[in-house]
Amino acid sequence: MTTLSELTSVLRSKNAGALLCTLDLMFEDQITYEKVRDSGVLTPSLIADLYGLSDNEVSIIPYDVAYAIKITIPRLYKSGDPDDSDIYGAQQHAPLLDIDIPV
């Protein structure tokens, strides 16, 4: 088992507009990317569990040409709402780092 922290070269989060948060996983090479993409571990249900969402709120899109996987979820609050504490949505990725991938 290897964690996404070890497997990714970039693992970032950012707003996609004021209502959505998008998480990008990028890999150094095609082999690592394909192992993670095809591992069956990254499912809407896993992401939904991690972030307290329902499965149908999670979008996962593999992007072969850049060895990247994009995950998009609703923000907890709109950017800049009274209860929001991450206006840019740049620090919402940490729970993904510990995901174990059997490679």
Partner: protein, 454 residues
């Protein structure tokens, strides 16, 4: 074979670029220069207040070099989303800076100002006609949401830019606009392939962000041909790599394959990325699918009240072990104290974030028990007027400092307060109230153009 060359000087007017890259771009011979002047990333405040989130000096510096070069070389200069949010006061701010530069340097030109602020009356008419829909997880539009909004902008497409150029403007300062429209307007007028135009525009609107090494913002040059385009950095020491260019459609978008614009969708599913030499990337195969309607994104903000902020540290391990219960007790104590001032609980919002525990992710934080030996409290109060905001904060500070908790030994004070004064009023604040899209027939209708001779 047709060719059109454009330069994006910076991803955000005021973030800067190097003169070396800029001059090198100019030497290549450009059809126009442009820059994006805005973003909603910094949140709702700047649109609400109608002010930029970069300094006036930085805006003046970035526009100064561009303006001088554009006038000298007789090429158009386009700036979109002026002043950050692209509202009227923000556009006026940038207009005044440009006029000042023109006066300093004795430059003369025709300038178009394109406004993007939307009136409540116009929005209500569109709402009543069922032409406004939500853009993601937000309530459907109601007349009440329009009434309570303080300021609303529409995001223009290429058409207002094109009209301004056709009417003889050499400099176009636009209010809120889609980032890619700034760069696609001229090439589309000249008949270049829409898929390539929009894709190139999407890539270069963030300028230096698509180059390696990523040492701050800088100019990027895009060259359109009939069936491909090239992207290269302005700076000789920087490179564009195939991976970086391909990865750029991931950035801030929910999908890297489908990117929506007012008149349709850029589809990159069959885009081909090729490293031409060490610094240049060639892209082909991008397509643009026309939508069967024209939609304009709306961004609006409403007041969320006056904020006061207070910061303090907690080092006592006994308090850290019961911090959630302690904060709950403080909330209750503040409510009682507020009542004594005839302030009811619905007249203020008290928010206590615990840094070192779950302040960043809130209820989404998977780590439930903090291991930190110290934590930071960030306390903020929102109320409809500054005096109530300050009064509640003073009560909250006292409650946090002196409220008892089980096992308490630190009876002279629960907090390390770093500043005097400790309570910081930050003034009027806003939140997004409108994040919708509006269907229109005429792409020029919500965006009046004013021609100015400078």
């Amino acid at each position: 074979m047709a060719e059109l060359r454009m330069m994006a000087t910076t991803g955000m007017v005021g973030y800067g670029y190097t003169e070396e890259a800029f001059n090198r771009g100019l030497e290549q011979g450009l059809d126009f220069i442009a820059a994006d002047g805005g973003s909603m990333d910094p949140g709702p405040h700047y649109l609400g207040q109608g002010i930029p989130f970069v300094s006036r000096q930085a805006i003046k510096r970035d526009l100064s070099l561009m303006l001088e070069a554009a006038i000298k070389q007789q090429i158009p200069m386009l700036v979109g989303s002026c002043g950050g949010g692209g509202s009227d006061p923000q556009l006026n701010f940038v207009r005044d800076v440009v006029k000042e530069i023109a006066e300093d340097k004795d430059l003369h030109f025709n300038m178009a100002l394109i406004r993007a602020e939307q009136s409540a009356a116009y929005l209500k008419q569109k709402c009543a006609a069922g032409k406004i829909e939500s853009l993601g997880p937000i309530s459907e539009m109601t007349p009440n949401m329009i009434d309570e909004s303080h300021r609303v902008v529409g995001m223009m497409g290429v058409e207002p830019f094109q009209k301004a150029i056709n009417d003889g403007a050499q400099v176009v300062l636009a209010g809120r606009a889609t980032d890619a429209s700034i760069y696609s307007a001229i090439p589309l007028m000249r008949g270049f392939d829409p898929g390539l135009c929009w894709h190139l525009s999407k890539i270069i609107e963030c300028a230096g962000q698509v180059t390696t090494p990523r040492t701050g913002q800088d100019c990027v040059i895009g060259t359109l041909h009939d069936d491909y385009f090239l992207v290269e950095p302005g700076h000789p020491d920087k490179r564009c790599t195939r991976m970086r260019i391909a990865a750029h459609t991931l950035y801030e978008n929910p999908s890297p394959y489908h990117l929506e614009e007012p008149e349709g969708t850029l589809v990159t599913t069959h885009s081909n990325y090729e490293q031409l030499d060490e610094r240049i990337v060639k892209v082909s195969g991008s397509r643009f699918e026309d939508a069967n309607r024209y939609t304009v994104k709306l961004e609006g903000v409403k007041s969320s009240g006056y904020r006061t902020v207070f910061i303090a540290g907690v080092r006592d391990p006994i308090l850290i072990s019961v911090i959630d219960e302690f904060i709950q007790a403080c909330h209750e104590r503040v409510a009682v104290e507020a009542g004594n001032l005839s302030i009811s609980r619905d007249q203020y919002r008290l928010n206590i974030r615990v840094y070192g525990k779950n302040a960043t992710m809130g209820p989404r934080e998977p780590v439930k028990y903090t291991q930190a030996h110290e934590i930071g409290l960030l306390v903020d109060v929102l109320a409809n007027d500054p005096e109530t905001s300050k009064a509640i904060m003073a009560k909250a500070r006292y409650a946090l400092l002196h409220t008892d908790f089980p096992g308490r030994k630190c009876i002279s004070g629960n907090l390390a307060i770093p500043f005097s004064p400790s309570d910081m009023p930050v003034g009027q604040t806003y939140e997004f109230s409108i994040w919708h899209r509006m269907e229109i027939k005429n792409p020029l209708e919500p965006f009046p153009i004013e021609m100015v001779e400078v």
